[in-house]
C-alpha cells in the first residue's frame, strides 16, 4: 500500500529528472560535447548519491513547514505537485518542483487545520528570490575570472575545448549531486513523516535510514526520468534565454551547482555555525531558476542585449502561478481523497491545556485566569485551539505561538528496549545515558521531556556559544520526540 501511495512521489521524481537534466547537461549534450548516454549515466549516479548522502538537510525545512502525517495525504500532496508541474509544462511556463511541492504542502496545511510555520515559509520564499540573484552574482564573478584566465594563458581553441569538455562533465556531476541533495526533498520530503521502512544495515559498515531508503527510491525515479525523457527535453527546449558559448555554459552550470549546494549542504552549515557565522538556510530551491539566474548574470555582463526577456517574464509568472495552482489542486484533491475515497488525508494533531501546561504558561508571566474552562479540554486542530484562545484572551502572534507550542499533545513513553535500539548517529552517548534514567516514564508534552533532560545533563542543554552543539541538540530532540511517540490510549501521563 505504501508503495502505491509513493507512486505520486516517484512520478514527481521522474518529471524532475526529465525536466532538470537539461539545466545541467543540456548545453554539453546539445552541442555534442558529451554523448547523451554518458551524461545521463553521470547525472543519474550523482543525483542518487546527492539524494542519499545530503538530502536530509533540506527535507528538515520542508517537514517543518508542514509535516504531512498521513500516507494518503502525502500521496495527494505529491500528486497535486506533479499535476501542477504537468499543467505548467503543458502551458509552456518553466516550472519548479520546489515551488509546486511547497504550494501543495501549504494547501495540505489549510485543509488539515495545521498552521503553516510563518518563519519557515518566509525563509523559503526569501530564498526563492535570493537563489537566482546569488546565481547571477556567482556567474558574473566566475565568468570574469575564467575569461581573464583564458586570455592570460592564451589557451588554444582545441585545448580550451578539451578543458571545457572535462569541466562540463565535472560541474555537471557536481550540479547533479547538488540537485539530488537539494531537490530530493521536493520528491520524497512529504513521505518522510509516514515512511514505514526499518533501517537497513550493510554488514555493520553503514546503515541506510528509512529516509535514506526513500531518497534512494526518489533518486532512482529521477534517474529513470533522466534516461527516458530528458533527451527529448534537451532537444525541444532549444536555446532558452540566450545563446551560450561553451565557456559561458560551463560558468552557468557551475554557478547553478554552487547555489544548489549552498542551500543543501549540512556540512557547510555546520562549518559556518562552528565559526559563529550566520548559516545559509537549507531550503529546496529551483534548479531551473538557478540556471536562469546564472545565464542572466552572464547576459548582463555582455550588455544584456541578447537576453530573451520574454522567457524571463514567463519564469516570473511561473513563480507566482506554480505555488498557487499547486495549493488549490492539493486542497481540492485532499477533499476528494477524504470524502470520495474515504482515505485519511491527515492524522489529527490535538492540543490540550493540561494543568502542567497552564502552570508553565503562568510561570512565564502570562495571565491565565480567563482560561480556566479550557483546562483539560482537547482540541482537534491548531485552528480550533486558536479560535478558543482568541475568544478568551485575543493573544498576540507570539503568545499564540507559545500556547500552540506548550499545549501540543504529544505523548511519549521512554522505554528501555527502545533506548537500546536507538540510532547512535543521532544521539550522543551522554545523551543516551541521560535518557536511560528516564526509562519507564510517560510525557504528554515534548517540552516536559526536554526540560527534564536539560536539567539532568549539559548534553541536553542549549549552549550559549556553541551553535554546532545546538544544531545537533535540535536534531536529536526532533528524533527522540518522534522515536518515543506513544499510542494515545496509554494510561494517563505522569509528567
Amino acid at each position: 500500500m505504501f508503495m502505491f501511495f509513493l507512486s505520486s512521489g516517484l512520478f514527481q521524481g521522474w518529471s524532475l529528472g526529465a525536466n532538470n537534466m537539461s539545466n545541467i547537461f543540456g548545453t554539453a549534450v546539445g552541442s555534442r560535447m558529451i554523448s547523451f548516454r554518458k551524461a545521463a549515466l553521470i547525472c543519474s549516479l550523482a543525483v542518487i548519491l546527492g539524494a542519499v548522502i545530503s538530502g536530509a538537510g533540506v527535507t528538515d525545512t520542508l517537514v517543518k513547514l508542514g509535516a504531512v502525517n498521513a500516507l494518503a495525504g502525502a500521496f495527494t500532496v505529491a500528486f497535486a505537485s506533479a499535476v501542477t508541474i504537468f499543467l505548467m509544462t503543458k502551458a509552456g511556463i518553466p516550472v519548479s518542483t520546489s515551488q509546486s511541492i511547497i504550494g501543495a504542502i501549504v494547501g495540505w496545511n489549510l485543509f488539515s487545520g495545521f498552521l503553516t510555520d510563518p518563519a519557515s515559509l518566509t525563509k523559503i520564499i526569501t530564498t526563492w528570490l535570493i537563489c537566482p540573484v546569488l546565481s547571477a552574482l556567482f556567474s558574473m564573478a566566475a565568468y570574469l575570472l575564467i575569461v581573464r584566465i583564458i586570455r592570460h594563458y592564451q589557451i588554444h581553441m582545441f585545448k580550451l575545448d578539451s578543458l571545457v569538455r572535462y569541466g562540463l562533465i565535472l560541474v555537471g556531476a557536481f550540479g547533479a549531486y547538488s540537485m539530488g541533495a537539494n531537490n530530493i526533498s521536493t520528491v520524497m520530503g512529504v513521505f518522510i513523516p509516514v515512511v514505514p521502512f526499518p533501517p537497513i544495515s550493510f554488514f555493520g559498515f553503514f546503515t541506510l535510514t528509512a529516509a535514506q531508503q526513500l531518497f534512494l527510491l526518489g533518486g532512482i525515479a529521477i534517474a529513470v526520468g533522466v534516461f527516458t525523457y530528458s533527451k527529448r527535453v534537451i532537444l525541444t527546449v532549444g536555446k532558452g534565454i540566450m545563446d551560450l558559448s561553451p565557456v559561458a555554459a560551463f560558468v552557468a552550470v557551475l554557478s547553478h551547482s554552487l547555489v544548489l549546494f549552498l542551500f543543501a549542504s549540512k556540512s557547510l552549515e555546520q562549518l559556518l555555525l562552528s565559526h559563529g557565522l550566520p548559516a545559509i538556510p537549507l531550503v529546496p530551491v529551483s534548479s531551473s531558476q538557478a540556471i536562469v539566474g546564472a545565464v542572466i548574470g552572464i547576459g548582463l555582463l555582455k550588455g544584456g542585449r541578447s537576453i530573451q526577456w520574454k522567457t524571463v517574464g514567463s519564469i516570473f509568472i511561473g513563480w507566482i502561478a506554480t505555488p498557487l495552482l499547486a495549493g488549490i489542486i492539493c486542497f481540492v484533491s485532499l477533499f476528494m481523497m477524504q470524502n470520495l475515497f474515504q482515505q485519511k488525508a491527515y492524522e489529527p494533531v490535538t492540543y490540550v491545556l493540561s494543568s502542567r501546561a497552564l502552570q508553565r504558561i503562568d510561570s512565564m508571566g502570562v495571565p491565565t485566569e480567563s482560561l480556566g474552562d479550557l483546562v483539560g479540554k482537547e482540541f482537534e486542530s491548531a485552528r480550533a485551539f486558536r479560535s478558543a484562545l482568541a475568544a478568551r484572551i485575543s493573544p498576540s502572534k507570539e503568545l499564540e505561538a507559545l500556547f500552540l507550542d506548550v499545549c501540543l499533545y504529544h505523548k511519549m513513553e521512554i522505554s528501555k528496549i527502545k533506548i537500546t535500539a536507538m540510532n547512535r548517529y543521532k544521539v550522543t552517548e551522554e545523551q543516551r545515558q541521560a535518557l536511560e534514567k528516564m526509562a519507564g516514564r510517560i510525557f504528554a508534552h515534548t517540552w516536559a521531556l526536554d526540560n527534564l533532560l536539560a536539567e539532568s545533563t549539559p548534553a541536553w542543554k542549549v549552549s550559549e556559544n556553541n551553535a554546532a552543539h545546538n544544531k545537533q541538540l535540535a536534531a536529536a530532540l526532533l528524533y527522540i520526540h518522534d522515536y518515543f511517540k506513544a499510542d494515545r490510549r496509554l494510561p494517563e501521563t505522569n509528567q
Binding site: 586570455r151 589557451i155 588554444h156 581553441m157 582545441f158 585545448k159
Partner: protein, 216 residues
C-alpha cells in the same frame, strides 16, 4: 583515457600550425620565384615552382588530416564548421599561389622592364596580405583578441594592391607601341596578382564573423 584524449588535441593543434606554416612558406617561395622570373633566372624559377608545388601538396595532406580529425573525433562541435571553412579558405590561398606560378610558367608573359617594379610591389602586397591573414588565423586559435591587430593590416595591403594595380594597368595601356593582345595579357597578369590580396580580404571577412561567434 584522459592523456590519450589530450594528446589527440595537441596533435591537431600542431597540424593546424603546420598547415598555416605551409601557407606562409608558399608566399615566401612565390615572392622569391617571381623575383627570379623578372630577373630572367628561368632555371631557379622552375626549381621554385616545383618547391611551391611540393609545399601545396603537403598543405593539402595536412588539410585533409585536419578535416578527418575534426570529423572523426567530434572536436569543438560548436565551431567545427567554421574551422573547416577557414582551413579550406586558407588552402584556396595556397592554391592561388600555385595557380599563379603555373600561369607564369605556361604563358611566359613578356613583361616590359618598366612594369617590373609595380609587379614586384603588387606581389609584395599580396604576400603581405596573406601573411597577415595567417597571423589572424593563428590568433583566432590562440588569442582571439589579438586577431583584429592583424586583420586591419590585410585590408591595408588589399587597398595598396588596388592602388598599384590601377596604376600598373594605366601604364600598360598607355604603351601604344605594344600590341593590344600583349597589353591585355600583361593586364590580366596584373589583375591576377591583385586578386591574391582580394582573396585574403575575403578570408578575413569571414574570419571576423567566426570571431564574433566564438566570443567567450
Amino acid at each position: 583515457m584522459k592523456l590519450n584524449l589530450f594528446s589527440k588535441k595537441i596533435g591537431i593543434e600542431e597540424k593546424i600550425d603546420g598547415f598555416l606554416n605551409k601557407v606562409s612558406e608558399a608566399g615566401l617561395i612565390f615572392q622569391s620565384a617571381m623575383e627570379d622570373y623578372f630577373n630572367g633566372n628561368d632555371e631557379v624559377f622552375a626549381e621554385k615552382r616545383e618547391a611551391l608545388h611540393r609545399t601545396e601538396n603537403e598543405g593539402d595532406t595536412l588539410r585533409r588530416d585536419i578535416e578527418r580529425h575534426l570529423y572523426t573525433k567530434t572536436l569543438i562541435p560548436e565551431s567545427r564548421g567554421d574551422v573547416l571553412e577557414l582551413i579550406e579558405n586558407m588552402d584556396a590561398l595556397l592554391d592561388y599561389y600555385k595557380a599563379a606560378i603555373w600561369r607564369f610558367d605556361i604563358e611566359k608573359p613578356e613583361i616590359c622592364r618598366e612594369f617590373h617594379s609595380d609587379f614586384r610591389e603588387l606581389v609584395a602586397c599580396g604576400v603581405k596580405a596573406v601573411e597577415e591573414t595567417v597571423c589572424s588565423c593563428r590568433a583566432f586559435f590562440k588569442n582571439i583578441d589579438d586577431a583584429s591587430n592583424h586583420m586591419h593590416k590585410v585590408t591595408y595591403w588589399e587597398k595598396q594592391a588596388d592602388v598599384v594595380s590601377t596604376r600598373l594597368q594605366r601604364a600598360i595601356f598607355s604603351r601604344q607601341d605594344l600590341r593590344l593582345s600583349h597589353r591585355q595579357q600583361i593586364r590580366n597578369f596584373a589583375r591576377f596578382m591583385e586578386k591574391i590580396s582580394d582573396e585574403a580580404e575575403d578570408v578575413i571577412d569571414r574570419l571576423s564573423i567566426y570571431i564574433i561567434k566564438r566570443a567567450l
